[in-house]
Symmetry: C2
Subunit: 411 residues, 2 copies
């Protein structure tokens, strides 16, 4: 039963729609007669420990709706990965403020944090309802068909590569675009959804689900460049060699690691530059360019999937419904029921927490350097309505006069 | 008088609206009764020399309209900078195909090319009407108030930094975003149009119009980081030291140069990484991230200013009108007549060709690290309608219970 004071927080990397889930929680919780206060914690669990809390019961509905449509965590986020002591501290604050329900919007790590907090409450015989609300541009939560945040980021990546394809077609060469994704290639794979015509890029897609071999990569690029006179590559930042070592560490003098012990992959152009230099020096191709799509992938103001928006809102609303009518903790999950429709369930935290889903084999092409129609069918409806479309001129060739013998090579 | 066969080509870097100008030329030229054929050259002047031409008279109006809304040069582009011999070759092909009018859509270099071609025609007593149609995301053509292509790229940059500001606010640290622009800082300056609240980033903007000093830069970053707990920097790829040497060359082992002898600045993350490393090593700040916005700035599918779209179309249409009713070569120019309205003129090629405009002093703040309200007023109407907007939660602080003595530091 939802009553008294409830707390909501946001953790991990921001997404374009994470505030939809926040608004879903706040707007719904404020409708429940027995709920006195809805608190928000600044910067995730860090804000709870520091007692940096705001009273969202005093926020206007109109402003909540505007914030809902604004990308990136409005409450702030954190990369802290709480250990047992940290979780005890969280629990101590929740108890001091007489919080009855804790909603945590986040990915794998956040789901694990809330799992431990729930455990603390049970051990202390304190009635705390704990609900995890999914979000991650990596799309790597298990059980879920997909995760809120991913479709909008995928829409950005697809639109970016559609544009890059046009650019590269106008000024041909090799282009290498590095996309976010440490263990899961879902976001990098989204680059393929920008393709329309058969010779459109990306011609090669490298995901962390397959071992990356630099010689194989060079042969792939050469093959495509010889065929199309150009070649567009999409590579996950997390591509690694057979031993699991990220390719980017080949270059980095000192490698930065985060609180989870992970090598820093984002916020540097090192991987793209490394791959560009390989192609330049080994294949002798003139125009080779590399970009790292960077933080705009998850935060660009004005690129959002309306399907993603709606679902992110709904998982927030469902979380409140589950907290109200059910006597169990859990994680809200998304399940596909049609082409396209979805429904939601509440799943035990233990089965979600800390686990990582990667691209299933049927989504990856046989040769491991592209995606399949199964993936196209999976992703297309998630991108939402109004996806922009690219058109080409039809090539009605003019007969040559001065160079009559030459064959036309337009395009 | 516009008659017989006309030729259109696109040169230089693609933009989001360059095909609007193409459609403007083709659709209008096809309405002129005496025009028999409208030819398009593949990959700019390169396509003319190679006689890679298509007959745009056979294209459907509907497809032309769809192509108009597609970013990047539909005819393909070139970085070739024709010398006298190359221009003679262009002229030879135009003459062989009995071209009466040549429309060239491009920036400074393209305007110089068409100037030389026009000279060739005059020297040979061949009646060739030469019209330059402006486009450049750099916004650096002289005489013009602004250039088609710039507003859409500026909209992308403003939206990107608005999103990055939200992201950086959720997970604070130093963020350095590198924006295109070798000599002119207009596009980098556009990052400021993403600001809404007084403490929003970018907090620092470095443009090629001012000398970049690394120690001064570090002091600026430290000052802002101390004040806001975070700092967002926008830097032009073309920032240089007092001797005019690009900062990026400090790192690059071997520097790539283009046909114009310019150091390659785009398609590499080197400058952002260099600046990030300086901040990390000298200021000891933990979370420092760098992105290079890259080719999406000019080609992203789905980020366009409707004002830019309309004007790009109009300069194409005006070019045809000038060719039809006037007996002179020239460059179509844009002039501001209201807040906001614009009109077009035909200007002598000699006064545009090869010249570069940079940010005027009144657009740059006194300390050289930001922009002024004059620039905000200049750019805002060009960004077009429907610019997305970011909203914040209002911070109604909850009184602390466990840490009563602490002052709240929300936000």
């Amino acid at each position: 039963m939802l009553h008294g004071k409830v707390m909501v927080a946001q953790g991990g990397g921001p997404t374009a729609v994470i505030n939809e889930s926040l608004a879903g929680v706040v707007v719904e919780a404020r409708k429940v007669p027995d709920v006195q206060r809805v608190y928000g914690a600044f910067h995730g669990v860090r804000g709870i420990v520091d007692e940096e809390l705001i009273d969202l019961t005093q926020e206007t509905t109109h402003n909540l709706e505007e914030v809902a449509h604004t990308p990136s965590s409005a409450l702030g986020s954190t990369r802290d990965k709480p250990d047992l002591k940290y979780c005890q501290e969280i629990f101590r604050v929740l108890k001091a403020h007489a919080i009855s329900t804790f909603f945590y919007i986040g990915g794998n790590d956040s789901s694990d944090t809330i799992r431990i907090v729930a455990e603390q409450a049970r051990n202390a015989d304190y009635r705390l309802r704990c609900i995890h609300i999914p979000k991650t541009i990596d799309n790597d939560l298990v059980v879920n068909d997909h995760c809120p945040g991913y479709p909008s980021a995928a829409r950005f990546v697809a639109s970016a590569f559609a544009g890059i394809n046009l650019d590269n077609s106008a000024l041909p060469g090799v282009y290498i675009g590095v996309v976010m994704g440490r263990h899961a290639g879902f976001l990098t794979a989204a680059s393929a959804l920008g393709q329309k015509y058969p010779d459109d890029g990306p011609h090669l897609i490298y995901m962390p689900e397959r071992v990356f071999d630099i010689d194989r990569f060079l042969a792939d690029v050469k093959h495509n460049f010889d065929r199309h006179g150009r070649c567009i590559v999409a590579a996950s930042e997390g591509i690694h060699d057979g031993a699991g070592v990220p390719i980017v560490t080949r270059l980095a003098e000192k490698v930065e690691r985060d609180a989870h012990g992970n090598v820093q992959l984002s916020g540097t152009g090192a991987l793209a530059d490394l791959l560009v230099n390989e192609v330049k020096s080994k294949l002798g191709i003139g125009r080779v360019r590399g970009d790292t799509l960077g933080y705009v992938q998850r935060s660009f103001l004005g690129c959002v999937s309306d399907v993603d928006q709606r679902e992110a809102r709904e998982v927030g609303e469902k979380a409140v419904q589950y907290a109200r009518w059910r006597e169990e903790d859990g994680s809200v999950t998304i399940h596909r029921t049609g082409f396209y429709s979805a429904e939601y369930h509440l799943h035990p935290l233990e089965e979600i927490a800390g686990k990582t889903r990667t691209m299933p084999d049927p989504f990856i092409s046989e040769d491991g350097t592209h995606i399949t129609d199964a993936f196209r069918l999976y992703l297309r409806p998630l991108l939402g309505s109004g996806m922009p479309n690219a058109f080409r001129l039809r090539n009605y060739m003019v007969p040559k006069i001065l160079k009559k013998g030459d064959a036309g090579q337009a395009g």
